[in-house]
């Protein structure tokens, strides 16, 4: 392209002395042309967010600062601007969309007023003209009933609606460039698809350039014109989206692309055995909000409504749903972290519902859980050995033997046997999740319930952990109930899928069948919303 809106030349950003590397960005060069969407994609720690902040002059000074290079925006070097000029630029010619719309909006101000404020600060429009402009903007982002939305507070809107408001604010001054930092990561997959669609549409109609920061290659495939792949603060590869996604030149990009879970459904490896391992019948769980000492209105949420499920021996079932669908509540009921209100949970024919924690203890060796957040699921003050050996020791294994087995488990999950004497903070996110898996396996369970075990991990690490779970499942002959919001992950791991919505299972069956012929409308919308599905489905 001839005349880029933004061009970054050999930008270097230094990190403070105590960091584990010297530069957040090392001689990064890239450009964004007119009406172009450029995706910056990279894993955590690649420096992609730091770059977005550097452009806006929002680096946490004085510790993190630009030490070299230029950022040319509309023929001016941004780095040489004064604070006042920078402030006029931000929100004016350059707008920003953040990851979490709730924190980007002021919770105490009506959203209409928040959009209005942008206009008030940056333009000379009369109040009346501003009001019309706000209405038009809210209309542009396809929010229903704009008048009502304008008079709402952020907490009265859903996550997707809030993100639309943030986009409306970003567009208010017709900026030349929008920097979007993971704008859809905090949203559900169907909402994500809508927001991506909206951003693309608005970008076309307003002729804005977009610098889109993301970690998700599916999102890249949906929205990007060009792609910049970053790693450790350096640009690994740049190019048009089709080239990078289909014929990646750099080895790192090839690995990343290969790690993206495909939508290819997993087939049943073995004939199902006759008696199911886990049977759930008409399970119900209702949360009743406490009315407090002085009464008041109580709120009830029927998180799980009459759910029935069967899980065969040595099989794996994915429970897929969006936030609030009740999938995690169901999982927590099964492992005994929640007390269901009705129905049956039968493990090998034995009733688990209604057991006290004391009575539940013998069954703990059969059911174990892998948790979502590898940073919260390991006690920071215990050594890895203690963490893994806890379960077996409760089941009566001697300390010496439990530690020996823990060492062996660590080796099996790909960590050194010496890790046993170390503390969790010495490990990376992926390694911690391996420890979490080792802990679940320590009592040699028959069933593992995994609650979003890879959603907090980078895509390359995600693939390793999924592969590991798969290997171990076959090796130990385990059954697995896999909770996820991501159909791609579900397809990779599980031969059967159950789709949950509003506390009910709306569809279940073999993965291949559901993918080929979804019956329920919700299943179809979930499948449609998978980011980058066309790219994933067409072999390179």
């Amino acid at each position: 392209m001839s005349d880029p809106v933004l061009s970054i030349e050999k930008l270097t950003v230094a990190l403070p002395a105590w960091s584990d590397r010297k530069h957040a960005l090392t001689e990064v060069s890239l450009s964004v042309g007119k009406k172009e969407i450029v995706c910056v994609v990279g894993e955590s720690g690649s420096g992609k967010s730091i770059m977005g902040k550097a452009i806006l002059g929002l680096l946490p000074k004085p510790h993190v600062r630009v030490t070299g290079g230029r950022i040319i925006f509309e023929d001016r070097d941004i780095l040489s601007l004064s604070d006042d000029e920078m402030r006029a630029l931000r929100g004016g010619r350059i707008a920003m969309i953040f990851q979490e719309p709730m924190t980007a909006l002021n919770p105490l101000m009506k959203v209409g007023r928040q959009i209005d404020e942008v206009l008030e600060v940056h333009t000379d429009l009369a109040p009346r003209a501003r009001r019309d402009r706000v209405l038009q903007l809210v209309n542009d982002v396809h929010l229903p009933d704009p008048q009502r939305i304008i008079n709402s507070y952020p907490h009265q809107l859903s996550g997707g609606q809030r993100q639309r408001i943030v986009i409306a604010m970003a567009l208010a001054l017709e900026p030349a460039l929008i920097i979007a930092d993971e704008p859809t990561t905090a949203l559900d997959v169907t909402t994500q698809a809508q927001i991506l669609h909206l951003m693309k549409e608005l970008q076309r109609s307003h002729g804005t350039s977009v610098l889109f920061i993301t970690h998700d290659f599916g999102v890249v495939a949906e929205i990007a014109d060009r792609v910049v792949v970053m790693r450790h603060g350096e640009v690994v590869e740049t190019g048009p989206v089709d080239d990078v996604l289909r014929n990646p030149a750099a080895e790192y990009t090839r690995d990343l692309v290969a790690a993206v879970p495909s939508l290819r459904p997993r087939l049943r490896d073995a004939a199902p055995s006759t008696a199911p391992l886990l049977v759930i019948r008409d399970l119900e769980k209702t949360y009743v909000g406490a009315g407090g000492l002085f009464g008041g209105a109580t709120r009830t949420v029927r998180a799980v409504r009459k759910v029935s499920l069967e899980l065969e021996r040595q099989s794996s079932l994915a429970l897929v749903g969006e936030s609030g669908s009740g999938k995690s509540t169901l999982a927590r009921c099964i492992v005994g972290l929640e007390t269901p209100d009705g129905g049956d949970i039968l493990l090998d024919g034995e009733q688990l519902r209604g057991l006290t924690r004391e009575q539940m203890r013998p069954f703990r060796r059969d059911i174990q859980m892998v948790f979502q957040d590898p940073f919260a699921s390991l006690n920071p003050r215990q050594r890895v050995g203690e963490i893994i050996a806890l379960g077996p020791m409760i089941q009566g294994v001697s300390r010496k033997q439990a530690y020996e087995e823990a060492k062996e488990l660590l080796r099996m999950v790909g960590l050194s046997r010496e890790s046993i004497d170390r503390y969790p903070h010495e490990f990376s996110g992926g390694q911690r999740q391996r420890i979490g898996i080792a802990r679940a396996l320590a009592v040699k369970p028959k069933l593992i319930v995994a609650d979003e075990p890879v959603s907090a991990l980078d895509v390359s690490v995600q693939k390793q952990v999924l592969d590991l779970l798969n290997d171990l499942r076959l090796k130990f002959g385990l059954s697995m109930l896999f909770i996820t919001h991501d159909l791609r992950v579900a397809a990779t791991v599980c031969e059967e899928i159950a789709i949950m919505q509003h506390g009910e299972i709306v569809e279940r069956g073999p993965t291949a069948k559901i993918f080929a012929d979804p019956k329920h409308a919700y299943t179809r919308s979930l499948l449609d919303a998978v980011p980058g599905k066309e790219w994933i489905n067409t072999p390179a």
Binding site: M369, F371, S377, R381, G391
Partner: protein, 275 residues
């Protein structure tokens, strides 16, 4: 990132505080050797100025102030530390149980805690001593009874936030008992704010102890800083050193403990400082 000890000991205010606290601890440990005579013994002429025959002078009855200062440090520190330990132990127990079990237990325990918090603590301590009669054990009891509620609040808040973390759920899934989960999983993760609050509590306990002794409600036959101030207060115009010397000792000790406590806080919660 510097380690905890580097951040703690690298702080000049902490070093000043620790220096004075260490001095006070040492002289109170070796009071019998440094000033072998009974601090209540009359050793010379009353109202001798500091620097004369006795290093810090004598009081209205001719007692050695230096000896009183050392033995007083022992009494004051002993009562302050023991009462703080009792308050921390009791407050932690109540706070941990309230935070972990929640619901009705939490309501009952916290309303009780609030009951103790609403009574002005110094008046309450006076009433307790008046009822129980002055003695070292009763001083410890009275100070502990008025100072455990803040500990309970801190521990409860921490337990509430820690107990929802996934590693606690993992312990439940592993089949660990509640008492074991509280002791091995939850409480170790509440230590840093507890240490900070506890260390600052010692300073408060010294002040209460001194105030009680000043009023003559201190342990009988135990020299203490507050008692020295109380005994010398009527001679403030004629013999300033009777009140000033123990007063400065209290001031410096409380200040030092606060410096150390805040240094602990900065070192344990490094995000609060500028790294």
């Amino acid at each position: 990132m510097k380690s905890f000890w580097q951040r703690f000991l690298g702080n000049p205010r902490v070093m000043v505080g620790l220096g004075w606290v260490a001095l006070v601890v040492l002289v109170s440990l070796f009071a019998d050797i440094l000033a072998p005579r009974d601090p209540f013994a009359i050793v010379g002429t009353p109202f001798l100025k500091p620097g004369s025959e006795f290093l810090l002078g004598t009081d209205s009855l001719g007692r050695d102030i230096f000896s009183g200062l050392l033995h007083g440090a022992r009494t004051t520190l002993l009562i302050a530390i023991v009462s703080t330990l009792v308050a921390v132990a009791f407050g932690t127990l109540v706070g941990a149980v309230a935070g972990y079990y929640g619901g009705l237990i939490d309501d009952v325990l916290m309303r009780t805690t609030e009951f103790f918090q609403t009574i002005p603590s110094f008046l309450f301590a006076i009433v307790l001593i008046a009822i129980l009669s002055p003695s070292v054990a009763n001083m410890v009891t009275a100070i502990a009874v008025v100072s455990w509620p803040p500990i309970t609040r801190v521990v409860r808040a921490e337990v509430l936030s820690v107990k929802s973390r996934e590693f606690v759920q993992a312990a439940v899934v592993a089949g660990q008992r509640d008492s074991a989960i509280l002791l091995t999983q939850v409480l170790p993760n509440t230590l840093s704010p507890l240490i900070v609050t506890g260390s600052l509590l010692i300073a408060t306990a010294i002040l209460i102890e001194s105030a009680l002794s000043f009023l003559g409600l201190g342990a009988p036959n135990q020299m203490s800083w507050g008692f020295m101030i109380g005994a010398g207060r009527s001679f403030l115009r004629d013999a300033w050193w009777l009140v000033t010397i123990p007063g400065v000792a209290i001031l410096l000790t409380v200040l030092s403990i606060n410096l150390v406590g805040e240094g602990l806080n900065d070192a344990l919660n490094p995000r609060l400082t500028d790294l």
